[in-house]
């Protein structure tokens, strides 16, 4: 999960300007939390409320967090996934209630599926955090744009904007009404919230919602990459720093599609060399190939220069480079082994 804003983020939370803000950098929580409740909140979406695990002794409360914060959930499978906290906040803009919402992603790397299939009330989960890369900065007016599960970080932001008496509105899109989580919670806000399922309304009317550049407004957007791209394009003429986004997946053009930590080992057969390697998540295919003693050209190791381009004989490539075009990716016959991996867990390379 990455977030950015064009200006340096002001981490001072709204409504607590005078209060000392607890900083948790380097002192974040890492341990187990108990699933206090599990609820299905939309088609394919479950929310989990987490509570301190009592273990043998006295339970310490989970750390406070502010809108925009997320936690890591470390699954027994070794997969780590990030989820925004979306529990209710108090008048000071804080919350101790850790609630996350998890969308089942059948084409993901298995993290969300595992949670859907295995996590029940009373179970313990290994968690880390919270961390906040997407803080809500003070403003007179907020325009929130949420797509699908991207609504989660916006929920507490909306609560805080409301508590601070700011003007705000939310444009919330999803595939269908039934797939959109937290609609009952949002219903209480009345006309400030525009719920726009795609099967009824088509693509979100960003122009109508965002209107002309407004220097007094901040735009917060979270959702699928195409939505964020569209909002970025739309806000290109807005004052620098107006737009703040958080991507659940890195930009399609570069970097891992699902967060580097959310990885599985993959198996790579080097047919010409007659060997098969198991490549752990922390190692690139390139490094693994080099360590196996197979010489291969490489240079930038960022998926840009194309030096390490390698013919693919079998297996589906999870392309993470910046160089290949969509057509070249779709052909699935070549890959940049410095950054790209396998979708099905196995690749056969002509090396």
């Amino acid at each position: 999960m990455t977030s950015r804003s064009a200006a340096a983020p002001d981490t001072r939370p709204l409504g607590t300007a005078e209060a000392p803000v607890p900083t948790r950098r380097g002192a974040e929580f890492e341990g187990t939390a108990t699933v206090r409740s599990r609820q299905t909140v939309a088609d394919g979406v479950v929310s989990l409320e987490l509570a301190p695990s009592t273990g043998d002794g006295e339970a310490e409360p989970l750390p406070l967090w502010q809108p925009g914060a997320h936690i890591d959930v470390v699954l027994p499978t070794g997969v780590t996934r990030q989820y925004s906290l979306c529990g209710p906040i108090d008048a000071a803009g804080h919350s101790t209630r850790w609630r996350i919402a998890v969308l089942r992603e059948p084409h993901g790397r298995g993290g969300s599926q595992w949670i859907h299939d295995h996590v029940q009330e009373g179970d313990e989960l290994r968690v880390r955090g919270p961390r906040n890369n997407f803080p809500l900065r003070p403003a007179a007016r907020y325009l929130f744009v949420g797509g699908g599960i991207g609504i989660t970080p916006l929920l507490p932001m909306i609560a805080e904007a409301e508590a601070a008496g700011a003007e705000w509105s939310l444009l919330y899109g999803g595939r269908t009404h039934g797939s959109m989580a937290f609609l009952p919670e949002l219903a209480g806000y009345g006309e400030r919230v525009s719920v726009r399922p795609q099967d009824q309304y088509g693509l979100l009317d960003l122009a109508g919602f965002l209107g002309d550049p407004d220097p007094s407004a901040l735009v917060y957007c979270c959702g699928p990459a195409p939505l964020i791209d569209a909002v970025e394009a739309y806000c290109a003429t807005w004052p620098s720093g107006s737009l703040n986004v958080e991507r659940f997946a890195a930009a399609a053009s570069a970097g891992p599609a699902d967060g580097a930590a959310a990885e599985q080992p993959i198996e790579v057969e080097l047919r010409a060399s007659g060997m098969t390697l198991t490549v752990p998540p922390e190692l690139s295919v390139l490094k693994a190939v080099e360590e196996a003693g197979v010489p291969v050209l490489s240079s930038c190791e960022e998926g840009i220069c194309g030096s390490c381009e390698t013919p693919v004989l079998d297996g589906e490539v999870d392309h993470r480079d910046s160089l290949l075009t969509e057509d070249e990716r779709a052909a699935n016959d070549t890959m940049l082994i410095c950054v790209s991996r396998a979708r099905g867990g196995r690749l056969v390379l002509d090396l």
Binding site: S298, S299, C300, I304, C305, G306, S307, S322, L323, T325
Partner: protein, 359 residues
């Protein structure tokens, strides 16, 4: 980069119209010597500049008033279609013909297709109507470059170098600081870079009479293997782009022979088109900027030529358009070589002895 062979199935800028007349003009294109001339009806012709008799350059011969081309070694004569119509020594007409290249003369430019004539498709040429549009004026020419054309291609597809190589004319920090968007449409590679509220580089300040800050747009389109067109728009910050100043730069990146390139250029503008002084200033600046590139590319060529199996290059994000351009050309070349290979396999048994015999 090991690309030393040239794509031939593609359009290259062979000459400007005003360069070619009744005088025979030799110009090497993709390692082929080409002789350009005009027939009496003013149509332009390009033939391989080797007499089929003993390969003497036809461009050292004569063109008579009827449009007959005569080799000045043993007197082979060719008509406007390149067919041999006689030779001084004997009454029998030798069965020989010159290889003629598909040409398109349009908007003051002569485009040549050095490859398979059956594949020459005029619709692949980009729009160059601004070269003759009465609302525009332009200057043009050709600069010799002792460097392979891929280096020029990469130079043009990554204008980030303006910041460093052309700091006193067209570049400043804003260029390198603004990322580019890159798109690929079929073989064509395009990039765009929009610089908003930047300091105007000196060339634009003087060319447009603008003071900073300005908005500046750069949109480049590379039509592989050898045509590049840059659209430049400059406007006072906050004004609408159509109100601004528009310029276009066309580059014909035409491989000559070995690692030498013809660097054709045309610089056009759609404002103050009668201002001769501005035209002179822009032409001088264009040549000065190109000279800076020539110095750099020729220095770079030496480094590539002396490091043929060298280490892979390091690349950064702003190289993306150039790397895509490189791939586009490499793919065209691979496709062409594959087709040639298949053709020669099919015709293998029928290759005449004379073509396989060594001289």
């Amino acid at each position: 980069m090991t690309l030393t062979q040239y794509v031939r199935n593609g359009w290259y800028l062979g000459a400007w119209s005003d360069e070619i007349g009744r005088t025979l003009t030799q110009r090497w294109i993709t390692d082929i010597p080409v002789c350009f001339y005009r027939l009496p009806d003013q149509t332009v012709t390009a033939v391989e500049d080797r007499c089929p008799h003993r390969k003497y350059p036809l461009s050292l011969g004569h063109l008579n008033d009827e449009g007959t081309l005569q080799c000045d070694y043993h007197g082979y004569r060719f008509d406007g279609q390149g067919v041999c119509v006689g030779v001084a020594e004997q009454a029998d007409r030798p069965k020989a013909a010159l290889r003629r290249f598909p040409l398109v003369e349009r908007d003051g430019a002569i485009w040549i297709w050095p490859g398979d004539p059956d594949l020459a498709d005029e619709s692949l040429l980009p729009d160059t109507s601004w070269l003759t549009d009465p609302g525009w004026t332009h200057v043009h020419g050709v600069v010799p470059l002792k460097a392979r054309h891929m280096l020029l291609l990469e130079n043009l597809l990554d204008l980030t170098h303006e910041t460093f190589l052309h700091p006193t004319t067209i570049g400043n920090a804003a260029v390198a600081a603004t990322p580019i968007d890159v798109t690929v449409d079929g073989d064509r590679v395009s990039f765009s870079r929009h610089m908003i509220g930047i300091e105007a580089p000196p060339f634009y300040e003087k060319s447009c009479g603008l003071t900073s800050p300005v908005d500046r747009w750069q949109d480049g389109d590379f039509y592989p293997p050898g045509i590049f067109i840059l659209n430049i728009r400059v406007a006072a910050t906050g004004t609408e782009e159509p109100e601004g100043f528009h310029m276009k730069v066309l580059y014909g990146l035409t491989p000559a022979r070995g690692n030498e390139t013809h660097d054709f250029y045309a610089l056009g503008r759609d404002y103050l088109i009668d201002d001769q002084e501005l035209t002179k200033f822009q032409h001088e600046q264009q040549l000065a900027v190109m000279q800076e590139d020539v110095y750099a590319l020729e220095a770079q060529e030496v480094m590539y030529a002396t490091d043929p199996g060298g280490k892979a290059e390091s690349s950064i994000k702003s190289d993306l358009a150039a790397l895509r351009g490189r791939r586009a050309v490499a793919k065209m070349l691979a496709r062409e070589q594959r087709e040639q290979h298949e053709q020669s396999e099919q015709q293998g048994a029928r290759i005449p002895r004379s073509r396989t015999a060594s001289v």
